[in-house]
Symmetry: C2
Subunit: 153 residues, 2 copies
DNA sequence: AAATTTACTTGCATTTCGCAAGCAATGTGT
DNA sequence: ACACATTGCTTGCGAAATGCAAGTAAATTT
């Protein structure tokens, strides 16, 4: 099958090949830009669920970028997409287990920013709780997720 | 001081303004690309210390990109740079405390990849240890760092 | 003093981003 | 039934970032 890749390039979306077999690089191959992790944040910590809600984030992601990232995240099985049963013109995006399991990464990012961002908006008490008992903090967020409560909502 | 920013633009490097006050966004404003975290990985987990070593990473970063990222990381006080006392044509890059404190983020990325990358190169035993006792795993890496031993070297 | 090592810089083609506008499907009001 | 709004995208295009190859400069070795 010599020209299999050339064939695929013409007729279908082709997964970019990874740059190395390193686990850090695996994450960056998916999340190595300024936007993709923000979508996860919105889903996990802000309770956003629709295209319009993502598009209205504080950071003002461009709609074409947003659309391409949602496709990528769905292809990677990090999010799923379904029609809103209450409104067919709307779609609900959800995190899969693979997506929810990014929470520890986000929490460590938050902890780092809480320490080193001089203008952090992470409240002292929140930073303390995350630092003192990380697992409890993490489980609290997961519990809240089931109840539609969100840390950064 | 009305035209302070215009003034600064002409005569000096200007920090890009942040997109929001969100702690995740703070991290992404610095690390939101496919390369910057790899430099941290090389310093923290591979024991690389020089420009040439970074440039020879598996992922083959372009030298102009590498140079720009090293400048950025130094500006952010995440790394420091000094002449190699044993060879003046060479520079040694080191992580500051702020840089070393990114280790938890890297570890969580590794853990996630160990679970979800079907071709992960993280050994089962390593993944297990990181999962069962994260703090011990983290401290082990920090101890190893002092002895110039590295997890991914 | 020539050759090599090391750390970059420069020029240029390619890719991605970012903004604004447009479009299609569904939903709503009259 | 028909216009208008909402929602989720797509398209076009200028600007910025990336990626590659080649070049430069300082220190080191031979």
């Amino acid at each position: 099958m010599r020209n299999a890749s050339k064939f695929a390039n013409i007729f279908m979306a082709v997964k970019k090949e990874r740059r190395s077999d390193c686990p850090i690089s695996y994450v960056l191959d998916i999340f190595g830009d300024k936007w993709t992790f923000l979508v996860i944040r919105d889903l996990l910590l802000k309770g956003k669920k629709t295209y319009g809600e993502f598009a209205n984030s504080d950071e003002k992601i461009a709609t074409n970028i947003l659309a391409s990232r949602l496709v990528l995240l769905e292809e990677e099985n990090i999010i799923s997409k379904e029609k809103d049963p209450e409104k067919g013109s709307r779609f609900i995006y959800r995190l899969t287990k693979k997506g929810i399991d990014l929470l520890p990464v986000l929490i460590e990012m938050m902890k780092w920013s809480a320490v080193y961002d001089p203008d952090t908006r992470v409240p002292k008490a929140t930073a303390e709780k995350a630092r003192i008992d990380r697992d409890a903090f993490l489980n609290q967020i997961l519990e809240d997720l089931k109840k539609n409560k969100y840390l950064l909502a």
